[in-house]
């Protein structure tokens, strides 16, 4: 093997390594956006990405952010300024949600989130969205948490607070 062949071997090895690294990094990337096949009950334009909400939490005019899932999980960690509104998958939770938004202007920006389970299997987010829409609220956004609140918010380093 001469020097030229060795150099070629190194170059090829480096290319293979870079390609392998690229695949590894890509494999680790979480789903960047909403799923291609979204549930018709929450249209894609009503979905909010975690990074978008983080930006919205900074200005003085913060949106009303409601957690519509488990109270235990809310107590463990929740978005600063968010309120617990009850598990919308239950009739009691829906009642609590209705009570919370009573009297608000119908164009109020309301962000709802849950993150108890993967998005497609969450029992709370869709009922909460549908309830608010049926009450006439026109500016409702559902925080898109692909896997759960821990993976898609806490582990991303976004702000959280504890307590009920």
């Amino acid at each position: 093997m001469n020097i030229r062949n060795l150099r070629i071997s190194f170059a090829v090895s480096l290319l293979v390594i870079c390609a392998a690294y690229g695949m590894c990094v890509q494999a680790q990337q979480p789903a960047a956006g909403p799923p291609v096949q979204t549930d018709a009950s929450i249209p894609p334009q009503a979905m909010l990405q975690p990074a978008e909400l983080v930006q919205m939490l900074k200005p003085s005019a913060k949106p009303l952010v409601l957690q519509t899932g488990s109270h235990v999980l809310y107590a463990e960690a929740h978005i600063p300024g968010s309120e617990y509104a009850g598990p919308a998958g239950t009739s009691a939770g829906i009642e609590a949600l209705r009570a919370r938004v009573t009297g608000l202007n119908k164009d109020t920006l309301i962000v709802i989130y849950c993150g108890c389970c993967p998005w497609s299997r969450c029992p709370n987010i869709k009922p909460a969205y549908q309830q608010l829409r049926s009450l006439g609220f026109t500016n409702v956004k559902a925080l898109y948490l692909a896997d759960n609140f821990g993976t898609d918010w806490v582990e991303k380093g976004y702000p959280v607070v504890k307590g009920r």
Binding site: E76, C116, P118, G150
Partner: protein, 180 residues
């Protein structure tokens, strides 16, 4: 002569190869590390002890299960994926219970009545106790269900599973059972 020159060239490239390997080794290993360290208390560390009363008013102290392989499953009645995997835990408890294997369920529900009804409906054959935010925090944050921990006979966490991973859990349990 030519052979010696070639040998020298190859030898001069060896340190570079080693350096290259040192640089790429962590990169290639990165996905594995990322998978095992995502959230939660560390694999290989002692499982945080707790003492609580289960739904049948029996005191459950985790440390008293030393010598057994424990599958600690955080779940909730509203968590569909949790309910899907729990019948399999019932089967494992039946199959491996005599080999010092124990499932313990921790419900993250807000109230017990629905949990009691679900335990009865699913005919759970293992203790279930009510969890809360403190127990969740002790286990590194249970912020999405199900979350399951496999604890070895020495009380050390062998694995943390986020979401349903029945095949992987089963394989890990069998490995632990065989290793003792």
């Amino acid at each position: 002569m030519e052979r010696t020159a070639r040998s020298r060239t190859v030898a001069s490239l060896l340190p570079l190869s080693r350096l290259l390997l040192l640089l790429i080794a962590p990169i290639i290993h990165l996905p594995l590390v990322a998978q095992t360290s995502t959230g939660g208390v560390g694999v290989g560390h002692s499982a945080p002890n707790f003492s609580r009363v289960d739904l049948t008013h029996r005191k459950i102290v985790l440390s008293s299960y030393r010598g057994k392989i424990v599958l600690l499953n955080f779940w909730a009645t509203w968590c569909e994926p949790c309910l899907t995997e729990m019948p399999t835990f019932v089967e494992w408890q039946k199959e491996y219970g005599s080999r010092n294997f124990q499932v313990i369920g921790i419900s993250m529900d807000d109230a017990a009545p629905e949990v009691i009804a679900t335990v009865s409906r699913l005919k759970l054959n293992y203790p279930v106790l009510m969890g809360d935010e403190y127990l969740g925090a002790d286990y590194g944050g249970v912020l999405g269900l199900p979350v399951t921990f496999l604890i070895d006979r020495d009380g050390k966490i062998q694995a943390r599973y986020q979401g349903t991973s029945l095949t992987r859990i089963h394989s890990d349990i069998q490995n632990l059972l065989q290793s003792h």
